[in-house]
Amino acid sequence: MNYSENCYEDQNRNMTAMKNTMTGVNNNNFNKCNYIQQAAPADLYDAYAGFIRGNMFPDLYNQYKISRPFEIEPMNEQAGMLTYVDAYCFGAHDINLYLDTHPNDRAMIELYNQYRIESENALKQYEKKFGPITVDSESTMAFPWDWNNSPWPWENK
C-alpha cells in the first residue's frame, strides 16, 4: 500500500501535463497509479451495462473513439436469449478476476454468486429451447444428437 502511494503522487502531477498534450482521446484513467480498487457491489454496472462495456467497474471504465457503448441488437429470439447468458456470464467472470486479487471481499463473493446463479438459469432456459451450449447439458438427451446442431459461434447466417 505504501509503496503504491508514493509512485502515485508523482504520477498525478504528470497526469495533468499528459492530459494537456493528448487531444481528443481520454486514455488516462486506467493508468492512474493511485487507483486502488475497493469495489462496492452497488457501484458496479449491472450485468448488461457491464457486458456492453467489457467492464463491470465504472471507475475503471475507459472509452476510446466511440461516443457510447454499442447496444447488442439480437437478430432473433435465439440471439436475444443468448444475450442474457452472455451478460450474466460476463458479470460473474469479471467479478471472478476481481476476487482472484481480492479474495477476502465478502460482499463481492455474494455478488459473484448472484451472477453465477443468474447465468445458470439463463443458460438452462436457452438450452431448453435451442439446444446445448455445453455438452453436459440435459438437452443432450434429445434424439438425434443435438450437440452438433447450428449455429456455431462463428456463424452469422
Binding site: F70, N96, P103, T134
Partner: protein, 189 residues
C-alpha cells in the same frame, strides 16, 4: 482441463465483407501483441507463480484470452467469408489465399507466421507479471489502431469490447504485482 462452451464471450455479427480489414486484424490473432501469444504466455507462467492468488489469476485470464482468440478468429472468418480470390488479391491477401485458401492461419498483418518467441518468460514472477502488464498495454494500443482503421460498427463493437478487457486485465496484473512487492517488502527481501 478445459470445457468448450458453444458461444462467443461477445457476439460477432459482421455483415460487410472487408478482406483488407481482416488482414489488419490478423495481427491480433497471430501477431506479437495478439491473443494467442497472451493466452499462451499466461498459461505457461501460471505453473511457477509463488502462491494461489497468482495461479488463479493467470489461469483465469489465460482462459479468457483463449475466448478472445475465438472472437478474433470469428471476425477474420466473417470478414473473409464468401470473398472471391480476385477481391482477396486486391486487398493484398493473394499470398494468404495461395497458401491457405480462406482457412485461418495465425500470422501478423504482414503474413509473418505466429512465433513462440513472442511469449515472454523470465523465470521470475515479478518480471513475468510486468511482461503481462506490458502485453496488455501493447494489445490495448493495437486495438486502438485497429479502431482507427474502420468505421463499421459491427467491427468496432467487438474491438471496443476486447480493448476494454485489456484495461481490466492490466489492472488485475498490476494489483497482483503490487501485492507481491508488498509481500516481499514485509519479508524484508
Amino acid at each position: 482441463m478445459w470445457k468448450y462452451v458453444k458461444k462467443l464471450q461477445y457476439p460477432v455479427n459482421i455483415k460487410k465483407k472487408d478482406p483488407k480489414l481482416a488482414k489488419y486484424i490478423l495481427t491480433q490473432y497471430g501477431g506479437p501483441a495478439g491473443e494467442l501469444a497472451a493466452a499462451w504466455q499466461y498459461l505457461d507462467q501460471r505453473y511457477t507463480m509463488p502462491d494461489d492468488r497468482g495461479k488463479a489469476l493467470l489461469t483465469d485470464i489465460g482462459t479468457e484470452e483463449l475466448a478472445h482468440v475465438e472472437i478474433i478468429s470469428t471476425m477474420i472468418y466473417q470478414l473473409m467469408d464468401g470473398v472471391t480470390p480476385e477481391e482477396l488479391k486486391a486487398a493484398g491477401m493473394g499470398e494468404q489465399y495461395a497458401q491457405f485458401g480462406t482457412d485461418l492461419f495465425p500470422s501478423d498483418s504482414f503474413g509473418n507466421p505466429f512465433n513462440m518467441t513472442y511469449i515472454k518468460l523470465a523465470g521470475d514472477y515479478i518480471a513475468n507479471i510486468e511482461s503481462n502488464m506490458g502485453a496488455e498495454q501493447r494489445a490495448r494500443a493495437t486495438y486502438e489502431h485497429l479502431m482507427d482503421l474502420t468505421n463499421d460498427p459491427d467491427v468496432l463493437a467487438p474491438l471496443s469490447f476486447l480493448r476494454e478487457r485489456e484495461i481490466v486485465h492490466y489492472q488485475r496484473f498490476k494489483e497482483l504485482r503490487n501485492y507481491y512487492l508488498e509481500q516481499k517488502e514485509k519479508a524484508g527481501k
